[in-house]
Subunit: 337 residues, 2 copies
C-alpha cells in the first residue's frame, strides 16, 4: 500500500517538476510507520533545517553524524539484553566440555535458563559468563559463532529471529537520515564484534560505523597465518559517560543527532545536543506493553528516569512507542531485507 | 604540464567514446609523480584486478579498505617525528609557566632544541614531554593548539610548513585509490587527535578514518557545557602488533592493501596481505639523501630491517624513493590544496 502511494507521489512529483513547480508536498512519506504528530514533525523539521543550503542551520554532509544506541533503541531488550541470551545459549552449547558448570553459579542458572538467578549473580557473575563465552577464540571464529546463533536462534517470548525484533520505524529513520546524507553510527553498550555481524544487513550500518563495548585482543602469528585473539579481559565498556569518549575516539567529530532509550544514553545525547547550531536528541519511551514492552524508571534493563525528567526541558523528543508508531516490528514478509 | 597532458588525454578519450571505442590507453596518468616501472605497475595492476567485475579477484567497494601509515609513509619523519617537534615547540611556549624546566631533563634539552639529549632521555623522558604538552586540556582546546602550530611552524631543515612535507606520489596514490572506490585510512603511531586536525585537508582522509595512538579521555560536564578532557595517561600505542588490533577495533574489516615504511608497519602489512584473494603491501624505502633522507636498517627513527629482508619474498612492493618517484614534495603553488 505504501509503495503504490509512493509511486503515485513520485509520478505527480515528476509532472510538477516538468511544469516548473516544486513537489515537496506530493512526495511519498519516508517515515510511513510513524504516526503524524509532534515526534515525526520534530524529526523531519530538523532534517529539513540542516539540509537546506544558504540557511544558518545548514550542516555540510561530512558533519551530518547521527549516533544510535542499539538495545532498546533499534531492537528490543526484554526480557534481557539479547547478548545475554546469546551468552546463555553459548553456555548451553559449551556445557558438555564443562561438567562443573552444572553446580557452579552463574553457569548453573544459565544452564537452567533462570534469568532471575543469572541477574542475581551481579556484575561479577555476568562478567564470568561473558568471559567464558566471548573470549578464548579468534575474531573470525567469534563472528562465525555469532552468525550461526543469530540465524538459528529465536526470541524466548515472541519466537521471532532476533533480527526481526528490530523496530521498523527506526529502520525507516536510519534510511531517511542516510537519504539526507547523514552518516549513521551505532554507539552501544553491546559488544562491538557481536553487533558488526548483523548491523550491515539489518540496519545498513557497516562494521566501521559500529561502536560498542569490547574485550582486549591480541595479534598472533600462527603456522596457518596471523589471527586476532579475543582475551578474557575487558577493554572498554561503552555506556553512560563513556559513550561520548568512544564517539570522540572512533569518529573524532561531535554528532549533531543522537538517538537512545535509556539513561545509559543520557551523556551521548547531552554531548550531541549541546554543540552549536541545530541539534537533535530523541528518546524512545517503551510504553507499549501490548505490542512490545512497557518499562522505564524502575527497570533494571534500559532504566529511563533522568531522561524522562530532563529530556523535554533539553528539547529532546520523547517518542511514545504506543502513540507515535503505527508499526513496531517489520512484517515477516520483509525477512529477506 | 601534467595537467595539460591529462586534458589532452581526456579529450582524446571522449572522442574515442563518441566513435564507439574504448579509451583506457588514452586516459590520463593518475600517478604522474611515479616513474614507470615495477612499483607503479604493481599498484595499477592490483587496482585493476580488484575492480574488474566478474573476475575471481574482484572485491566489492565496501571491502576495498586501504590502510596507510603516516610518519615516513605520507610525510617525512626526519630529523625527528614531527609530533616530537610539536612537543618541543609546546615546551618552549609553556616554559614561562614552568621555571623549573630550565634545569630539569628532558625539558632542558627540549628548550635548547637538543634533539640528541631529548632522545637520550629514553621512553620515560619522551612520555614526560608528551604528558606535559598533550594532556591537561579539552579535546577542542588541543585541536586549536595543533591547528595554530601546524599553520605557523616550519620544518627545521627545509623551512617548509609540515603539511608541505607530504609526499606528492602518495597524495596521488590516495586519490587514485579513492577514485577506484577504496576507503583510505591512516593507521599511525602518531597521535590520533593531532593527525585529525590536518588529515582531511592534506590527505583527504576524514577524522573518522584516522587511527592512531591516544591518551585516555574523560567526559566532564562544566557550567559552560560538556567537554572531553585529555588525561595524562596513555590509552593506546598504535605501533607494530597493535596496528592490526587497532584496525580490527576501528574498522572491523581486514584491509586488502597496506602501505608503510618501517618495521613498525610490518604486522599491519602482514595482516592485510595474508587474507584471501588479491592483496597488496607496499613499503616506502627512504633511499634519497638528496631530495629527502636516506635511512633504513640502523635508523632509530623509521627503522626498516625485517621489512627489507622479508618484504620481497612476501610479494610486497619495495618503493625506492630515488628511482620510483620523479617528485617528492608537492610544488609550493599547490599550497592551498
Amino acid at each position: 500500500m505504501q509503495r503504490s502511494i509512493g509511486g503515485t507521489g513520485t509520478l505527480a512529483c515528476a509532472f510538477t517538476i516538468l511544469i516548473g513547480g516544486g513537489c515537496a508536498s506530493t512526495q511519498h512519506d519516508p517515515l510511513p510507520s510513524w504516526n503524524d504528530g509532534p515526534s515525526k514533525s520534530a524529526i523531519t523539521g530538523f532534517v529539513q533545517r540542516v539540509t537546506t543550503e544558504d540557511t544558518p542551520d545548514f550542516v555540510p554532509p561530512a558533519e551530518r553524524i547521527a549516533v544510535f544506541d542499539n538495545d532498546g533503541t533499534l531492537w528490543s531488550e526484554q526480557p534481557a539484553y539479547f547478548q545475554l541470551l546469546f551468552a546463555i545459549d553459548r553456555v548451553k552449547a559449551l556445557a558438555p566440555q564443562h561438567p562443573d558448570w552444572h553446580t557452579t553459579e552463574p553457569f548453573r542458572a544459565a544452564l537452567e535458563g533462570d534469568l532471575h538467578a543469572v541477574a542475581e549473580s551481579g556484575e561479577e557473575g555476568l562478567l564470568e559468563l561473558v568471559m567464558a563465552t566471548h573470549a578464548g577464540m579468534t575474531t573470525d571464529q567469534f563472528r562465525e559463532i555469532v552468525r550461526a546463533w543469530i540465524t538459528t536462534s529465536r526470541h524466548p517470548t515472541t519466537g521471532r529471529p532476533y533480527t526481526e525484533m528490530v523496530f521498523q520505524p527506526m529502520l525507516e529513520l536510519l534510511d531517511y537520515l542516510r537519504a539526507n546524507r547523514f552518516k549513521t553510527y551505532i554507539v552501544s553498550g553491546g559488544g562491538i564484534e557481536l553487533m558488526r555481524v548483523f548491523a550491515e544487513d539489518v540496519y545498513g550500518v557497516p562494521p566501521e560505523q559500529v561502536i560498542g563495548s569490547s574485550l582486549k585482543t591480541e595479534f598472533e602469528v600462527r603456522s596457518t597465518g596471523p589471527v586476532i585473539k579475543r582475551l578474557p579481559e575487558i577493554n572498554f565498556i561503552d555506556d553512560k559517560a563513556s559513550k561520548p569518549v568512544a564517539i570522540n575516539q572512533h569518529i573524532g567529530r561531535r554528532p549533531i543527532a543522537a538517538f537512545g532509550n535509556s539513561d545509559g544514553d543520557f551523556q551521548m545525547l547531552e554531548w550531541a545536543t549541546t554543540g552549536g547550531g541545530a541539534r537533535f536528541g530523541l528518546i524512545v519511551h517503551h510504553d507499549d506493553a501490548e505490542r512490545e514492552y512497557a518499562y522505564d524508571r524502575s527497570s533494571p534493563i534500559g532504566k529511563l528516569d533522568r531522561g524522562l525528567d530532563e529530556g523535554p526541558t533539553r528539547g529532546w523528543t520523547i517518542v511514545s512507542m504506543k502513540r507515535d508508531w503505527n508499526t513496531v516490528y517489520p512484517a515477516a514478509e520483509n525477512r529477506s531485507r
